[in-house]
Symmetry: C2
Subunit: 319 residues, 2 copies
Amino acid sequence: MHDYNQLMHKLLILTSDKDEYKRMIESAQLPDLEIITETAECDIVLGEPKAIWDALPRLHQPKWIQSIYAGVEPLVDPTQRRDYILTNARGVFGELMSEYVFGYLLFLEKKMLERIQVQQSRKWQRSESGLLRGKTIGLLGVGSIGAHLAGTAKHFGMNVVGYTRGSEISSQVDRYYHPSSQPSPNGRWSLLEFAKGLDYFVSVLPRTQETNKLVDEALLNTLPDHTVFINVGRGNSVDEPALVKALNEGKLAAAVLDVFDREPLPAEHPFWNTPNLYMTFHTSAISYPEDITKLFIENYHLFIKGKPLKYVVGFERGY
Amino acid sequence: MHDYNQLMHKLLILTSDKDEYKRMIESAQLPDLEIITETAECDIVLGEPKAIWDALPRLHQPKWIQSIYAGVEPLVDPTQRRDYILTNARGVFGELMSEYVFGYLLFLEKKMLERIQVQQSRKWQRSESGLLRGKTIGLLGVGSIGAHLAGTAKHFGMNVVGYTRGSEISSQVDRYYHPSSQPSPNGRWSLLEFAKGLDYFVSVLPRTQETNKLVDEALLNTLPDHTVFINVGRGNSVDEPALVKALNEGKLAAAVLDVFDREPLPAEHPFWNTPNLYMTFHTSAISYPEDITKLFIENYHLFIKGKPLKYVVGFERGY
């Protein structure tokens, strides 16, 4: 039983899928919740970080803001207000990312393009192709997405190594590497150790100051030449000219990029002319209203009970 | 301790990878086993069914023959001798088949070819793509390969239905269908019921009299138009002209075929000109000597103890 005399919570929805979210949240009949369109009056916001960033100065007393994305860069900018609890979308993208990452790994291992060409040449040619089984995948970042990728890698019989600041949340990672406190030429000894012997190298890092250009020339040179690199995190983690160079020089087998330092990718960017590079345009994990609504409902129940919310963003940490 | 006075077993290896098998089996130092090259003298044969079929009339007293493939069609032909125990390769192909099947499903769902075209047109275009999650896969045949496919489908959050003669060996299949004993127009009521509502339809059936042309026009018409059909079993299960018709008329989204009624596929076969058809040439699951040697060693230990072997083929059943 809830108290009908209690103040109603006022939810503002700021996404392009507003109507779908409204319909789904209304049909959940959450207690004491009213969906409003008057920006200033809300105490709860659900939406896209950029749209929330636009509205932020006009909000009187926001208490809780739920991002529908994992990345919340505009909202953790140090010039922005931080007088509310920010939660992001987590736990829902792991399975989507697994489909993308292992889809592209299998596409490359099974040589699907070459096989299409063989078929077009009308030849019965029993070309051999590769296996995921027995390969080693390196995960740069092991949060909820990295942990899910580790589980899929294990399902396919792979070895899994992970590089994280310090956490070891997934038991499916066979070996963890962390930033070294040992003196080393560039302070990144353990990152280079991690990169040695990888067959696949997948970054799921968020955009922070600390992730800037972690994937640089030294790291790309350390990876074996047959390595496939996939970036489904954020583009800032890659030294893009170094990646162009590595691909042009055959120091990587292929790269699959869903994210870029500047998005949309500028028309004059060398990536458009780089060999063995497959690009998709920030679509590896779509934010599906049904996923995010579930997460919002779960957090709303915690919110009205005054309990700690799930997936709270650390403003300083940046994710 | 084994008895050194005991008769040595004599193994004949009949594969194109003979040297690799010899090296791996010798390094396992199996008791009382000698690898011979004199065909007639062997009591054990390890090899490819076709090569064994060639040698069969010349063997004096074969006791156990281990096929390195799953399909053993030449050896179960009713005109052939059956005075030995035939075992085939099972349990080793499931993970290879999963890589192939889910690789192609992801290739199609993620619209990889269209995305390559978008990239080539130098457009930043955030096209949406599909998901495995929530889709329904129908497995035609649920033996050890089908069971493995069911596990991978479950990992990706899919619904799994299976059609088998009677067995229900995998608990990861949500619903089983079996041949109906009810009177129905074509005696195949339950197969057509099974086909309704599938997003993906994967045949892993062996070649037997009973699997001939199970995938016919009625079945193809029952599948929804958006269904992807994959055949990694044997080609005889498909009415090939009906499949050409279905693909030409858009009654299937796509088909991926690794096996054909006649192999190599004849040069004049209409498949070469059929739209939305992806063909590979009997390479979905390669027989790797390291996998098969493990299986041979396991069976050899059972053999010398007089215990029942694993993966015994039923000559009448045909697999």
